[in-house]
């Protein structure tokens, strides 16, 4: 049955373009017995697989197949999952709409006829799940690349705490931000897959230590114990005021009304809703683009056409005096326009003259963003406390009176935009608008915090101005302290229940 499913996949995907390569159905017979035996999984095309190409949506790696499986792929296979194919994405993860891919744009499956963007960069992963082409998809999230498409496509998208899932075998865009995550139709499936791949990995130097994992998990369980059950009494949810920018309040009233409805429901179950402030949020987007582009320019330096990947030989008569002039041919042709732009931006940010004002300044902002979060959460950040003594540990377990357990905010400031508007006017429209979409998602990326986007399908009708836009999905994000992924998912499950009513 599985084999038939897999062989039909290509045909089913024709209208979405969610997949870029498909596993040979014959290979799906030898599946290890394990907890994920019922799961078909799509893996984003920037995660290395030895049996399928890993193109990262780039002409540079058009014909590249990695000699090894990423750790996350290995763990999925070991748990008995069936990896059915690789999913489309923005080139090297750079983009918010999944329109920057050599494989073409992904069509949002929510309503194929209206030809809207699936969001990016993990657009293929979100669309594959939304279209029912696979149970679960693996994506990567550098500044919102899982949560934004999850919101646009109406699925659950989870970016875990940085350092929990191994990045070994994940093609780097920005090493300090790249996070592997999971997309599915509901939180329970996300959690089940997350549990199987949430492992310390010695091949990844940024993989979190067992001690920190355990410490944070205990703190999360403490918090969950206080409110679990039917009542949410004891759960304190913070609403960050900076996450309701003018773009959101003016254009998307139904997003606001959905959030309002959600908060009233949560309150009626006993949760405490408090407004909080994360004052550095306004600088987060600029800092994010400086850091991500700087690291991106560095991580992408290796694509020179020498060891692997595409190579464009210098045409006859071209200057051969320096290595960079020879590589320029390959890199100008191999990288798409968005990647070229970010590589140039990042190269500038790292140049000796700009380094202090851009890169270092952005790192300072990043620290401020982290401090903001640590300030509002009742649970301390275990990564910054070298607590060997038992007394300190005790202090950590005691929640602060003022702190909140999780934060809650809309995942995006708009619904999925129309593809024709995005593609046709690529030259004329305000490209910066694409970047602004990330304003709500980048702070959690900068701080490495767990963030889960859950669709809000409450069917609220207030102020109807555009019938069609109203129906399109929008996600709500739950953000928690580092390592409290379980807490974030449990709150997500509560919110999900409102959808089913």
């Amino acid at each position: 049955m599985l084999r038939r499913f897999a062989s039909n996949l290509r045909a089913k995907d024709a209208s979405f373009n969610a997949f870029v390569s498909f596993e040979d159905p014959l290979n799906l017979d030898n599946i290890t017995k394990g907890p994920l035996n019922d799961y078909t999984i799509g893996v984003k095309d920037n995660i290395c697989t030895s049996s399928l190409p890993t193109t990262c949506g780039s002409a540079m790696l058009r014909d590249f197949t990695s000699p090894f499986d990423a750790t996350v792929v290995k763990l999925l296979k070991r748990a008995g999952a069936q990896i059915v194919g690789k999913t489309n994405c923005d080139e090297f993860g750079m983009g918010s709409l999944n329109i920057h891919s050599i494989h073409g744009p992904v069509i949002n499956p929510f309503r194929v006829d209206s030809r809207r963007a699936a969001g990016g960069s993990s657009g293929g992963s979100a669309a594959a799940v939304a279209a029912g082409l696979c149970e679960v998809a693996i994506g990567t999230d550098t500044g919102g690349s899982i949560r934004l498409p999850a919101s646009y496509c109406g699925v659950v998208g989870f970016k875990p705490s940085y350092g929990l899932i191994s990045r070994y075998g994940v093609v780097s865009y920005a090493d300090s931000l790249d996070t592997v995550g999971v997309l599915a139709q509901d939180v329970q499936k996300v959690e089940k897959v997350f549990e199987c791949v949430n492992r310390r990995d010695h091949h990844d130097p940024t993989s979190a230590e067992e001690r920190s994992r355990k410490q944070a998990r205990l703190l999360a369980l403490n918090s969950i114990e206080r409110w679990n059950g039917q009542s949410l009494k004891g759960l304190k949810i913070g609403i960050p005021q900076e996450y309701f920018p003018s773009e959101l309040t003016s254009s998307s009233n139904h997003i606001i009304s959905s959030i309002r409805y959600l908060l009233s429901q949560l309150r009626s179950l006993g949760a405490t809703i408090v407004p909080v402030s994360l004052p550095s949020t306004k600088y987060a987007l600029s800092a994010y683009y400086v850091i991500a582009s700087a690291e991106g320019s560095s991580c992408l330096t290796r694509y020179d056409g020498i060891q692997y990947g595409s190579r464009v030989a210098p045409p006859l008569g071209s200057e051969l005096t320096s290595t960079s002039k020879i590589y320029a041919h390959t890199r100008s042709r191999g990288f798409g326009r968005e990647v070229r732009k970010r590589v140039l931006l990042g190269t500038y940010a790292l140049s000796a003259d700009a380094f202090d004002n851009y890169f270092l300044q952005a790192q300072r902002v990043r620290q401020m963003v982290k401090d903001d979060f640590d300030h509002v959460f009742s649970i301390p950040n275990v990564l910054y406390t070298d607590s060997d003594s038992a007394s300190e540990m005790k202090d950590m377990e005691k929640p602060e009176i003022d702190g909140v357990d999780v934060l809650l905010h809309p995942s995006a400031i708009r619904i999925a935009p129309r593809l024709d508007e995005m593609l046709d006017d690529l030259r004329e429209r305000d490209i910066l608008q694409d970047y602004v979409q990330d304003v709500l998602t980048v702070p959690a990326s900068l701080a490495g915090l767990p963030a889960l986007s859950v669709p809000m399908r409450f069917g609220i009708r207030e102020d109807i101005s555009n019938e069609q836009d109203e129906d399109w999905p929008i996600g709500v994000s739950i953000v928690g302290q580092w390592g409290t992924d379980k807490l974030v998912m449990d709150v997500g499950k509560v919110i999900e229940r409102f959808n089913q009513k």
């Binding site: 590249f64 091949h203 940024t206 700087a294 560095s298 290796r302 020498i306 590589y327 790292l350 000796a352």
Partner: protein, 511 residues
């Protein structure tokens, strides 16, 4: 200082030395390091070739060897340091960047004391970094071949302050540094094989005036070339400054030494200096070193050559062993094969071999025999020194036969030749007998130190004869015992029972 002035110009030299760490695996990958004779592109993995999705993983063995170098150079080890990416496009750099320690090196503020340079040389910093791959350019076909074997091998960049005042001082530093790094097992320090390379910074100025503009001569791979490059630079810079008087400065440049013309040649000026866009490596994060870790490296570190030399002189010179003798042995150890990953050598070094043979014997006699006869015979046979040729036990038996006059020295040489050319398990004395080399007078020893009374007499005489050593022994310095026993052995023609003699001494001294 004035003796270093060249026509009234003060010469100021600083050195950056790149040293390949002698580790079995590379700095951030699990692949093996390579030897010069390995086939090209046989010693690398996906990380070394910068494949997408690969991540670095610090090799703790490289780190420990780097720490040895830092401790040997008396550096302050930073408890927190970090790695940075240095970006540039070159075919021998597969990732497009080299991981180094630009902003925060792991060791700083060291010093290097050489007996030949009056003042200590200040070590500014030591960085841990990756070596590049090798590119072999064929100018005829205008193509380059890349060999990844060397890519990612661990390197130490040891940077001095501009403390040298002559090419000779710089040369002496490089040679002494080589010896030091070899002694502590950090590196081969082999310039010919490329495991030690130097960049030199040279400037000249009038004494009392500010330092001149420096020029850097990069990638020098022999001491001879380094001296020539510095000498050429001094003359070149002097010409610029003297011809144009004070109107012109020496332009700041990066140069290289051209072996064919024996001159330095301009590579690029300051304006063309590449912007390496240093960025903290987001994967490797902060390198944290605990006091305990640093101490454990210090404990396991082999002794420094200077300390060994001083100890040998202190222990053996009173028995007539000369500093020259000691240097012969130390030089032998200085050229021995350096093991990988700082493990201790399986065979004994020449110094250790001598000390084991001299235990309970007359050290001058043992030293002479080893240097003149044993080493002499080895070199005649074209064999390098190794303790495996004649194990300590056998050499001891041979030495005792000579000391006890059971065999003449020339007979002993014949026996040695036999033992070296046809090694066997036959006991030395039996072999001597078989070869009919034992002296007929052997048994007529004048003293019979086997008797306890005689030995006691000799011990008492010894206590009178060596007041300083006995005082040290009383103060608890056990090492002096060797010298005391050596005296007793000399006066019993090597026939005393060492253990018994020690017992009697302890009894007499009430230790």
């Amino acid at each position: 200082m004035s003796r270093w002035l060249v026509d009234g110009w003060q010469v100021v030299i600083g050195l950056e030395t790149h040293v390949q760490i002698k580790s079995s695996r590379k700095l951030f990958s699990r692949s093996s390091t390579s030897l010069l004779n390995d086939l090209p592109n046989t010693r690398f993995n996906t990380f070394d070739a910068a494949f997408p999705g690969t991540l670095p993983r610090l090799n703790r063995k490289c780190l420990d060897l780097a720490l040895r170098a830092a401790l040997a150079l008396d550096c302050t080890v930073n408890k927190r340091s970090s790695f940075d990416r240095k970006h540039y496009f070159y075919p021998d750099q597969p990732a497009g960047y080299q991981v180094t320690q630009h902003y925060s090196p792991f060791a700083v503020n060291g010093r290097f004391v050489s007996p030949k340079i009056g003042v200590p040389i200040r070590i500014k910093q030591i960085q841990l970094e990756q070596d590049t791959a090798k590119s072999i350019t064929n100018s005829r076909t205008r193509s380059s071949l890349i060999d990844l074997n060397r890519a990612g091998t661990g390197l130490l960049e040891i940077v001095t302050e501009p403390d040298f005042r002559s090419p000779e001082e710089a040369a002496d530093y490089v040679r002494s540094l080589q010896e030091l790094l070899r002694a502590v097992g950090v590196s081969d320090g082999n310039m010919e094989a490329g495991s030690l390379r130097c960049d030199v910074n040279v400037s000249i100025n009038r004494p009392g005036e500010p330092l001149g503009t420096r020029c850097e001569v990069k990638n020098i791979n022999s001491v001879k070339f380094m001296v020539a490059a510095i000498e050429y630079e001094i003359q070149r810079q002097k010409n610029i400054l003297e011809t144009f008087h004070s109107e012109h400065k020496v332009p700041q440049e990066t140069r290289r030494f051209d072996v064919d013309s024996w001159r330095t040649v301009k590579m690029r000026s300051k304006e063309d200096a590449p912007d390496y866009r240093y960025m903290p490596d987001p994967n490797l994060g902060v390198l944290i070193l605990s006091e305990g870790h640093i101490e454990s490296v210090r404990r396991e570190m082999p002794p420094l050559p200077e300390a060994t030399r001083a100890r040998l002189i202190q222990t053996y010179s009173s028995s007539g062993v000369t500093e020259n003798n000691i240097d012969v042995l130390m030089n032998l150890d200085a050229i021995k094969e350096i093991p990988y990953d700082g493990v201790s050598n399986s065979g004994l070094g020449a110094v250790a071999y001598f000390e084991r043979c001299a235990e309970g014997r007359d050290s001058k006699f043992v030293m002479n025999w080893i240097i003149q006869d044993f080493l002499g015979r080895l070199s005649a046979l074209g064999k390098p020194f190794s303790s495996a040729h004649i194990p300590v036990g056998k050499m001891g038996e041979l030495l005792d036969l000579i000391a006890e006059k059971q065999m003449t020295r020339s007979s002993a040489k014949l026996l040695l030749q036999q033992m070296l050319t046809a090694p066997s398990d036959v006991p030395v004395k039996l072999l001597a007998k078989q070869m009919d080399l034992l002296s007929p007078v052997a048994k007529q020893a004048t003293i019979s130190p086997t008797s306890d009374d005689t030995l006691r007499d000799i011990c008492i005489r010894c206590i009178d004869a060596l007041p300083a050593e006995i005082a040290a022994l009383r103060a608890g310095n056990e090492k002096v015992m060797n010298r005391v026993i050596g005296w007793i052995m000399r006066h019993t023609k090597g026939k005393a029972d060492i253990n018994r003699a020690k017992e009697i001494l302890k009894e007499l001294l009430q230790l």
